[in-house]
């Protein structure tokens, strides 16, 4: 079957489903499993297979035996068999010595590369085959095949979404088998920003966020660690910096940050740290007041002092030990240079160099870029740096869009790489953007040349923290981040054609309930405003 025909088939099924969905909630038995994000190519059949709660992992290939794969397998088995009955039937099976015959008793994971390196552009493709083991089929049971262990993780997520607990037989079933899925992401960078400066997020909460990202196949956690409000991270080289934390309890040690990076890597997620200079850094001065232009005018960082750049260099040196990802975000947005103009010693310095404040802004950003590059990092900067002095930016710079809708268009035309985060649609703190607007936002809009399209490495949804703390962060992220996640993972054709109320909404409802079932407090899909409570009693699948 060709992928297009599959899609058509799927579309028809959604159509027929939407007719009945007003009468009854989705029943897995008579509809295809609701995969999110939609795989690149897939076909399925009409059989129902049962899955053994004691399903065995058969690892093959150089990377099959990786502890990351093993840990992921255990994680997903926990999610798939979370109902008590799963274990009960396992007991029953032991008792009656294989009285219960399962169709699927093993899960084979073939990983060709033994490397555990996780970098931008790592191969995340995989194939997933599910079929009954019999004389005719060459492959038995379930096979996930991938080039890297991270591709295998994506395949495991898809497999977990094929599995459904059947309340009548009290066993886990896979409907519409045999399945053949060949999948890969459309963009290599699929990010989510969290902001631990406006509100501290406890480690446990960050882990919950990372875990939930893996369900939607997002792969970069953009950690906006520091801003003007607080500086929660320990930096051993300049130990007074975290005096800028809100309190003693609202801090991350170096070990905590490393643990977060490790936890993310286990789920195939990179962590990109950000120090946003020079405009969003007031909290640095709590520990080192010299970084402020003056006590009464505290932002941006003092451009005149070598100390400022020494501190940046120290922070980056410390962070290099924690964050192995090749991208580092240097911010550079919303720089109001009034303090530079109004502080005598800075003003004199500007005059001495014959600098305008804009020149000084450029000087600052470029010097910070060189520090990052010297630490073997590729700098990412918010778009104002490109729109203000784009031709001076290091050619390796990745421009991060947020303000202007066509900035990626302009940046890639100049040969820069770009990350798309149009605030009108992909800022999650904008509560008045419903899921369909998030879904319909296309990072490649207006970019037609293939060579330029390739420079858009992906996109990112941003969960700015002014009004999002532990109590609401997850329900503000989900389910809307999932809408963007499918836009970035699935093929452009799959997400752009047809009526999304039929092709995407039922699956998004289903994915939101899946998140809830896994303990993630994703908010109702249908509310116009994000993170609002359900409008009344009802099924999760209809809200």
């Amino acid at each position: 079957m060709s992928p297009n025909r599959n899609l058509l088939l799927l579309l028809l099924m959604f159509l027929s489903l939407s007719i009945t969905s007003s009468l009854s909630s989705p029943s897995p038995a008579d509809s295809p499993p609701y995969l999110w994000p939609l795989p690149a190519e897939f076909s399925f059949g009409n059989e129902t297979l049962s899955v053994d709660p004691a399903v065995a992992l058969i690892a093959a290939g150089d990377g099959g035996g990786s502890p990351i794969v093993r840990a992921a397998f255990e994680r997903y088995m926990g999610m798939i068999f979370k109902h008590a009955s799963g274990r009960a039937s396992l007991l029953a099976r032991i008792r009656f010595l294989r009285m219960v015959e399962y169709d699927i008793t093993s899960l084979k994971i073939v990983v060709h590369s033994g490397s555990a390196e996780l970098q931008l552009g790592v191969d995340e493709s995989y194939t997933l085959m599910v079929s009954k083991k019999d004389e005719q089929s060459i492959v038995g049971a379930v096979t996930i095949e991938a080039n890297t262990i991270y591709g295998a993780l994506r395949g495991l997520e898809t497999f977990s979404q094929l599995c459904a607990f059947d309340y009548l037989t009290k066993s886990v079933q896979i409907y519409k088998a045999p399945w053949y899925i060949q999948d890969k992401p459309r963009f290599q960078y699929r990010g989510l920003l969290i902001d631990t400066s406006r509100h501290y997020l406890p480690i446990d909460v960050i882990k919950q966020i990372i875990e939930s990202m893996s369900f939607a196949k997002l792969n970069v956690l953009h950690w906006h660690i520091v801003d003007e409000q607080s500086f929660p991270l320990e930096t051993p080289t300049y130990p007074n910096l975290w005096k800028g934390a809100y309190s003693r309890w609202e801090r991350y040690t170096v070990e905590d940050a490393s643990e977060i990076v490790r936890f993310a890597k286990m789920r195939g997620i990179n962590v990109m740290p950000e120090v946003d200079v020079p405009g969003h850094a007031e909290s640095w001065g709590t520990g080192y007041p010299d970084l402020w232009p003056s006590l009464s005018c505290r932002e941006p960082l003092d451009v005149t002092k070598n100390f400022t750049f020494d501190v940046i260099s120290g922070i980056l040196a410390d962070m290099r030990k924690i964050f192995p990802f090749e991208l580092f975000h240097l911010g550079g947005d919303e720089v109001n240079t009034d303090c530079w103009k109004n502080t005598t010693h800075v003003k004199e310095w500007l005059q001495g160099r014959n600098f305008t404040t804009k020149d000084a802004y450029k000087y600052f950003v470029l010097r910070a870029q060189q520090i990052a590059i010297s630490k073997n990092w590729t700098p990412v900067n918010w778009e104002e740096t490109f729109s203000s002095f784009g031709k001076y930016l290091d050619p390796r710079t990745v421009v991060h869009n947020w303000l202007v809708s066509d900035i990626c268009q302009k940046a890639v035309a100049k040969g820069f790489r770009c990350i798309f985060s149009n605030q009108g649609y992909w800022y999650l703190d904008h509560l008045d953007v419903p899921w369909d607007e998030v879904y319909n936002t296309e990072p490649l809009h207006g970019i037609n040349e293939t060579s330029q399209q390739k420079l858009v490495i992906g996109g990112e949804v941003c969960m700015w923290g002014e009004t999002a703390d532990t109590s609401v962060v997850l329900q503000t992220i989900w389910p809307r981040a999932a809408a963007a996640a499918e836009r970035m993972w699935s093929t452009r054709e799959a997400v752009s054609k047809g009526n999304i109320t039929l092709t995407a909404l039922p699956r998004l409802h289903y994915f939101r309930c899946l998140l809830n079932n896994r303990g993630v407090p994703a908010a109702p899909v249908d509310n116009f405003y994000a993170r609002r409570p359900p409008s009344g009693p009802g099924s999760c699948y209809a809200q």
Partner: protein
Amino acid sequence: MIFITHKHCTKPPIQRLCLTCIYKERDFYDSLLFFATFFFPPLIFIFTIFRFTKREKMRGRGAKIAGVLPFFTLFMAGAISAFEDIERLRIWPLPAEVSHGGRRMYLSGDFKLVTEGSKYEDTTEILKEGFDRMLDVVRLSHVVSGGRNSSRSGGSALLQGLHVIISSSTDELEYGADESYKLVVPSPEKPSYAHLETKSVYGALHGLQTLSQLCHFNVKKKIIEILMTPWNITDQPRFSYRGLLIDTSRHYLPLPVIKNVIDSMTYAKLNVLHWHIVDTQSFPLEIPSYPKLWNGAYSSSQRYTFDDAAEIVKYAERRGIHVLAEIDVPGHALSWGKGYPSLWPSKNCQEPLDVSSNFTFKVIDGILSDFSKIFKFKFVHLGGDEVNTTCWSATPRIAQWLKKHQMSEEEAYQYFVLRAQKIALSHGYEIINWEETFNNFGSKLNPKTVVHNWLGTGVVERVTASGLRCIVSNQDKWYLDHIDAPWQGFYDNEPLQAIKDKKQQSLVLGGEVCMWGEHIDASDIEQTIWPRAAAAAERLWTPYAKLATNPDKVTTRLAHFRCLLNQRGVAAAPLVGGGRVVPLEPGSCLAQ
């Protein structure tokens, strides 16, 4: 042991202990911080900053200034009210009796559980798992370094473990059984072990919760510390019933969500999960005796198997929490008829359950028979509220039946409730019913009935005066779905208000906050429950004399508990405003 000797002090022993510590430790800024707190709360912040910036340099000078401290403290001692000191303790809910010192200790990297001398064997590992959970929440996912390195922990003052002595050997969770505990954390001179003495393992679990709140992660040394040692805490709950209602009919709550709620309840020492399983909207639970009942679930997947329910009960019981199952008959049971339409008066008049049919009571009997296999709590909740009986008169078949038995609609309501009570009794349950049953035919209720207040005031007095037991949940204060109800009202709501008679007081088993689910699903349940449920939890746990008469006095301590919940991954909402508020601007958790 030195801390015992302070029992006879007329002044609160706290200050005396601290004086001792000042002489010995000369930890000047710590002590100054301590006194400044009594003196003028805003000073804390200044001193905190000062202490952190200057601490190392000032040590020597602190020793000199320590000479004048005794005068200062003597002067202060008279002015200090014990209450304000208690507020500094940051324990929620406040224990019955606390004394403490002013010294710092650290937990060893391999902090151990020791049970020598305990009659309780812990074969089911309830204690061991509780101990491990305690360490988990204390570490708060931080990477904790060993603590055995003496240079890091400041030499001595290392606690090796916790010695738990439990005098009762049973691990049966019995309602009304002793939940008390005695927790002692020694002073740095005699480090080795902290001690926890209890009657039952469930008292020990409470003690572990308290211990977890004494522990902090020291971000500089990266080890767990306990401040203000030695500690001597004797504690027990004021009420034996401290409940939280969840509603899985208006919205289905997935298993991990219910388990998270149960875990969060233990932090506030609540002990009854009232599971309002079924209502008009959906019937999510499997009932083996009548397998079509869960056809009334919202969908094929928004269901609990019988084993799931057993698992939830087990999960809760291992944490010292009873699960009170409810079927709300006859008024809130429309969803039953999805599987068995003959339970409806008619197709177009579907509630209350058909009073005239024996089948109705057979189904109730089947449900309660199945319940008795998994819900081991001594009570079952039979609902009985908001019964609109017009469907009975409007359905000819039932109208005829009423006529034949010479019953009014009201009498049929009474007949239904009493017959359901008898069925519950036959399965060994005592019964809880919502207050309308008492208001309408209180004298007819079985004497084993516990009346569950929700509507009005004055009910508790009347119920206890009639000799029945009562649970307080007046909706104006303790309904969590009332989003505009602030935490202060939850704190202030006194179950024994206007009940002077000792015997009547003893009939008030406790209270319950209710998280009705019309607008509550997996996405917003935690932040609607917390932190307001915690305010009620202290009302139900802490001795009356120790409760604040003005709730605003406990704001800082409650804010701290809310942040503690956040640190433990519970999505407790900010304090400012009503329920489920979102932070309005950037800021510290402690200030919102």
